[in-house]
């Protein structure tokens, strides 16, 4: 009996163990199902996403790692680059878009896997500290500058930068060490500072409000592949022969700029540059989009969006306004060509308005199907959608169902220094993208 009781207890214990194991298996399988389902959904969303991909953190703490990697160019080239990526992630170009709130502390931890020291400078941010000390230029024993700020040692060094996020707007962050070389190699990214309590505004002014679903970063830069090849081969760089061949928006050149965020064929270049909006309407679509331009290159980039002016509201993280403390004058302005100087940032609001109030029935205007303007990427100011009436489609050849998804417009936007709108001299490419305007009712198939 004793033995039986012992066996019974043992059986009970074994049953309980089996139950626990079964429960564990069921829980694990269930979790796996959920994880796969969630992962599938997230993956599908990522594959079709557009607009700004913000890196956020409740403590505004970001861990970045400087790494080497390669990017693809549309002409089939592969370029050796350096870049900041999330430490939990992989190499990417440009660095992650860090989104923070004005007046709140920010911590950026830089890990370095490069074979030389590197650092990060945050132009426009005040009282930046590095490892708890004031961030300041570093000199060697001979008094020569070695870095604009304290750097992370080569191979496995790290340094922690802290500051309080400054005035709302957009800022560049980039290497402060051997700047000409390291910035050319790709060590740069965007910092977006949002107004406290008003994340839907560019700055503290209420007239800088934008549609949060239509927020874009255009980080402009350039690449001389000969420089990158020399660095890859550990050879000296001949800066006197510098000649940029590739011009990038968010690390991509046209037509890759049109591809979605996280496009599978651009694994190291996660950010697209398609602007996708609807016409302005006071009742249904009153807020503009915002495009945050940054220049991480060596020359000015005169960025020209066809078809619509943009309203410049911020420069270098400062609202364009007067100095009155009670009612500062609005100094924003409309601009047909957004000149972005090296190191500069420009925040511009944009919308699309049907100022002529076109209507195929009540306000028709003559239209003729152009022979060539829909054939060349640039040759007309717009990419003609074969009807001047947004969302209204005309008659088409018998073999064509419709000429686009829903009668949407596409406006080209590009650097107006046209050599910057090429891929190694082949037009068009480079610093170019399109702005897509859908009819007010939307586009069912997109």
């Amino acid at each position: 009996m004793r033995l039986n009781r012992t066996r019974a207890r043992t059986r009970d214990a074994a049953s309980a163990a089996r139950l626990r194991r079964r429960s564990g298996i069921l829980a694990a399988v269930g979790a796996l199902v959920a994880a796969v389902a969630i992962g599938s959904t997230a993956g599908a969303q990522a594959a079709t996403s557009e607009g700004l991909l913000c890196q956020t953190d409740p403590h505004q703490t970001f861990s970045l790692t400087a790494r080497t990697g390669y990017i693809s160019t549309p002409d089939g080239n592969s370029i050796y680059m350096w870049g900041y990526g999330m430490s939990s992630g992989q190499f990417q170009l440009p660095g992650p878009v860090l989104c923070v709130t004005s007046g709140q502390p920010v911590t950026v931890i830089l890990h370095n896997t490069l074979t030389e020291p590197t650092s990060i400078v945050f132009p426009g941010q005040k009282a930046v500290k590095a490892n708890g000390n004031p961030a300041q230029p570093q000199l060697d024993t001979g008094g020569s500058l070695t870095s604009m700020v304290q750097a992370a040692d080569a191979t496995d060094g790290s340094v922690t930068y802290t500051f309080t996020a400054g005035s709302p707007g957009t800022y560049l962050y980039s290497s402060g060490t051997d700047v000409t070389k390291q910035q050319q190699m790709g060590l740069y990214g965007a910092l977006v500072v949002r107004p406290a309590g008003a994340a839907g505004q560019v700055n503290d002014r209420t007239d800088s409000a934008f549609s949060p679903q239509h927020e874009y970063v255009f980080l402009l830069s350039e690449v001389d592949p000969e420089v990158h090849l020399a660095v890859e081969r550990s050879q000296p760089v001949d800066w006197s022969a510098y000649n940029a061949r590739y011009y990038l928006i968010n690390g991509r050149s046209m037509p890759d700029t049109l591809a979605p965020n996280n496009a599978s064929w651009l694994p190291s270049q996660p950010y697209g540059a398609l602007v996708h909006i609807k016409p302005w309407d006071a009742a249904t679509n009153p807020l503009p989009a915002v495009i945050r331009y940054l220049n991480a290159g060596r020359v000015s980039y005169p960025f020209h969006p066809h078809g619509s002016d943009e309203r410049v509201v911020n420069k270098d993280g400062h609202a364009l306004q007067g100095t009155s403390s009670t009612a500062p004058q609005d100094l924003s302005y409309l601009k047909y060509d957004i000149d972005v100087m090296p190191g500069q940032t420009v925040d511009a609001l944009m919308d699309w308005r049907d100022v002529e109030h076109w209507d195929a029935t009540t306000n028709p205007i003559p239209t003729q199907l152009p022979v060539i303007t829909d054939q060349l990427l640039v040759g007309a100011d717009t990419w003609f959608s074969e009807s001047p009436y947004l969302g209204t489609k005309g008659s088409y050849p018998a073999n064509i169902t419709v000429n686009n998804e829903c009668g949407e417009y596409y406006h080209v936007a590009h650097s107006h220094a046209l050599q910057q709108a090429t891929n190694y001299g082949a037009a068009f490419g480079g610093m170019m993208t399109v702005f897509r305007i859908d009819p007010a009712a939307g586009c069912p198939t997109s």
Binding site: W265, V402, E405
Partner: protein, 171 residues
């Protein structure tokens, strides 16, 4: 100590323990549930893998020697972009003269035809003419995605001058 010596079954002559049939039922039920869940997981993983495969940039684009000989280009990628409204077709130049003629034939652009449904597009915006094509370099067309004719994850056929390139993965 005794637990280590307990046999898997009851000793001979001992009364059959009551829970056994119940344990068997539970086991069968549990196994069935686990099996269903495993099938569900495998199904989801399979669908995901299939989708990933369709969208896999490493999945090769078929090649046609006939088309390459005639046009002087090799199609290297077809991708839906512009939030579904546009399609890019990239091609590598193999023969500069033939490729230049192919690119300049704006009145007869290649037709992209979905293999999954009725739908095609031939409204193309090409790179500007005049630059010098380089052998080995990649160039592109941008199409309006007529009526959402092509969708990522499916296959398309490219038709030009009576030539066809089938089963081109659409990224």
């Amino acid at each position: 100590m005794s637990t280590t010596t307990i046999p898997a079954g009851p000793p001979a002559g001992a009364p059959a323990p009551a829970p056994r049939p119940e344990r068997g039922t539970w086991s069968r039920t549990a196994l069935a549930v686990v099996a269903v869940l495993v099938v569900a997981v495998l199904g989801l993983l399979g669908a995901r893998a299939l989708r990933a495969g369709d969208d896999d940039p490493g999945r090769p684009v078929p090649q046609s020697a006939e088309m390459e000989t005639a046009l002087g280009v090799r199609i290297s990628r077809v991708a839906v972009v512009g939030d579904g409204g546009l399609v890019t077709v990239s091609y590598v130049v193999l023969d500069v003269d033939k490729a230049s003629r192919f690119q300049a034939d704006t009145k007869h652009p290649p037709v992209l035809r979905s293999e999954a449904r009725d739908g095609s597009t031939n409204r193309v915006s090409v790179m500007r003419q005049g630059h010098i094509n380089r052998a080995g370099a990649t160039y592109y067309f941008v199409y309006q995605n007529t009526g959402g004719a092509l969708r990522a994850g499916e296959d398309a056929t490219i038709e030009y001058a009576g030539l066809r390139l089938e089963h081109v993965p659409v990224l």
